[in-house]
Symmetry: C2
C-alpha cells in the first residue's frame, strides 16, 4: 500500500473504482456496521467465494478496507480515513459550485433590484 | 438520463466510475469554477478532441455533467445534485463507522475506569 500513500491521485483512482461496483458497496455497507469475515461479506451476495475474495482484494488495494488473518479466518474492517479522502474531493468540488451559484444568484437578484428601481 | 433517475444504484455505479479517472476529475475541477466548452476542458489535458469527447460522454452519462450546444460550441456545466448523491453515500458510511468507533472508545474508557476503581 506504499504506492497509495505516495500518490494520492492514484489512490483516488482506486478508491472511486472500488466504489463503482454495487457488490463492493454492499460489502462496505456491511463493514460500516463492524468487522466481518470474508465469508460473512459474501453471504448476502450471490457469488462464489473466489469472486468475493477478488472484490475484497480490490477494496484492500484501494485502502478502503484492511484485513487480518487470525487462524483460518480473514477478518476485514473499514478504513474511515480513506473514505474521508474520497468524500473530501467530492465535497470540495460541490462547495465550489454551490458558492459560485450563490454568488450568481446574488448578482442576478441585485441587477433585478436595479431594474425595478430604474425601469 | 431516464435510467439514472429510475435506478439510483446504477447511477452510483456510473458516478463512481466517472470519478475513477484522473482526466475526468481534472475536467470536473475545471467545471466547478464555471461552465466550459469541450475544447476548453481538453486544453490542460494532453489528449485528442475525440478522447476528450469520450470522457465528456461518460461524465454526461453519469449525470455529473450536463451540456448544451449553442451554434457550433458545446458548453458543459457541473451538476451539483449528482455530486451530492455520491458524497452522501460515502458520508453515511463514514458517519456510521465513526459513531461505532466513538461508542467503542467510550465503552473501553468506562471499563478502564471500572478497573481503576476496582483493581
Amino acid at each position: 500500500m506504499l504506492n497509495n500513500v505516495l500518490d494520492p491521485e492514484l489512490n483516488l483512482d482506486r478508491v472511486f473504482h472500488a466504489l463503482a461496483d454495487p457488490g463492493r458497496r454492499r460489502m462496505l455497507e456491511r463493514l460500516s456496521e463492524g468487522p466481518a469475515s470474508v465469508s460473512e461479506l459474501g453471504k448476502p451476495l450471490d457469488m462464489s467465494l473466489a469472486a468475493v475474495l477478488q472484490h475484497v482484494q480490490i477494496l484492500e488495494g484501494s485502502g478502503l478496507v484492511q484485513s487480518r488473518k487470525l487462524g483460518r479466518t480473514r477478518t476485514c474492517s473499514l478504513n474511515a480515513p480513506t473514505l474521508r479522502s474520497a468524500e473530501r474531493w467530492i465535497s470540495e468540488r460541490r462547495t465550489f459550485v454551490e458558492r459560485r451559484l450563490d454568488k450568481l444568484g446574488e448578482y442576478l437578484a441585485s441587477t433585478t433590484e436595479d431594474q425595478e428601481e430604474n425601469p
